[in-house]
């Protein structure tokens, strides 16, 4: 019961702080927190150590809430952890969506991470399996353009392109057997695409350059 009271009290402190602290500078904030601390200690709600912890936590929580609202740099980085959840979910969906009967899962993955070229690579393989060459080409073009947008320093282009091609090759290899089993899969196109990927990989490894990077 006492624990419940403390939690209610903490929430009250948080709420009060949120009202009081807007527009205050640091010295004002310290003053308010000091008053709160003395008040709860004198009132016997909790002892001094507990009061200090609660007030400090409440102040930190309020500070973080404000920084999250403003999308401050550290808040963006911490919220990036939620993006990792999206990445993992999209990876799962796009792997499960690699069969024609589950293609709606691929669409969900794309919706979740529209600028992630890896999902478009899997989408391309899905369309080969469906025997739709135009959609395959469109998915690979989209993957290429997403990678191009991602490159800020041209010096990094060949290594990032190599990364993409290796991923493409790996996705082809992983689904090689599936293509043989799918009735609509255009196996000849599948093999031709695989060979052309391998050729570009060789070219980058031998010359350190790629036509994709404009050199």
């Amino acid at each position: 019961m006492r624990t419940k009271k403390r939690v209610v009290f903490s929430l009250l402190v948080l709420f009060l702080l949120s009202l009081m602290m807007s527009g205050c500078d640091e010295s004002d904030q310290e003053l308010v927190m000091g008053i709160l601390q003395v008040w709860v200690t004198d009132d016997g709600v909790m002892d001094e150590v507990e009061a200090k912890v609660i007030v400090d936590v409440a102040a930190k929580a309020w500070e973080q809430t404000t920084r999250e609202f403003m999308n401050a740099e550290d808040a963006i980085q911490l919220n990036g952890l939620d993006v990792i959840d999206d990445i993992e979910r999209a990876d799962e969906l796009s792997k499960e969506g690699l069969t024609p009967e589950n293609e709606h899962l691929m669409a969900e993955a794309i919706e979740l991470r529209p600028e992630d070229w890896r999902i478009r690579e899997r989408d391309a393989v899905l369309w080969i399996m469906n025997g739709n060459s135009a959609a395959t080409a469109s998915a690979e073009d989209k993957s290429d353009s997403l990678l191009k947008n991602q490159i800020k320093n041209p010096d990094n282009c060949p290594s990032l392109r190599l990364q993409q091609l290796r991923y493409r090759e790996q996705t082809y290899q992983e689904n090689y057997k599936n293509c043989q089993m799918e009735a609509n899969c255009n196996f000849a196109e599948y093999e031709a695409a695989h060979v052309s990927v391998q050729q570009e990989i060789k070219e980058i490894l031998n010359t350190g350059q790629s036509p994709f990077c404009g050199n």
Binding site: I87, R113, Q150, K152
Partner: protein, 203 residues
Amino acid sequence: MTDSPPKTTPPKKKRSRSFCAGCLLFPLIIIAILAALYFIGPPLLRWLGIFGPPAEQVYAAAPDLVASAQINEIFEEQSIPGVRVYVIPIQETDTQGAFIILDASRGYLGLNPTQGKDDTFLRVIQNIHQRNQTENLRLAHVTVEYRDEFGEKVIGFTVPQELVEDYATERISRDDFFREIDIDILQVIDYYNLGDLLEEINQ
């Protein structure tokens, strides 16, 4: 006897409809202004560069698979299981953010990194710093999340790369390092709840 003029009662003042409408209109205008501030304010402030962009936009690009594998290798070399690493390009910059998930539900056996007292954490940080320099990973920050044996998020914190360098080169102590990191305090409150947290402090 003169006939007195019939008493005329003054006409009843009709309530002004416009006044009533004004009464209703005023709160509506206030609500509309508040709603506009809430919905239009943040995008406008973002456009002006006062507010930052949302994380989904900043980390929208695909993870750098090679850089992720490089950092992952550090944990493998130290025989630390249950760790997943994602290095993600930061929008509009040539830098990247490293996200490290220490997941007890997937075999991570170490302690919460903010509580451990052994040197493993220092070694990992030193290796990240070293790889960042030798492999040109272009890291701008390292963000860590610790998940419990049920996969629930316990704590997350983020460290700018400069601080990682200071700690890795032992220019600052472990205590100084943890004093400077930004912890997701809302996550901690959510996981422990304040009552439990106080009881733990009192023990």
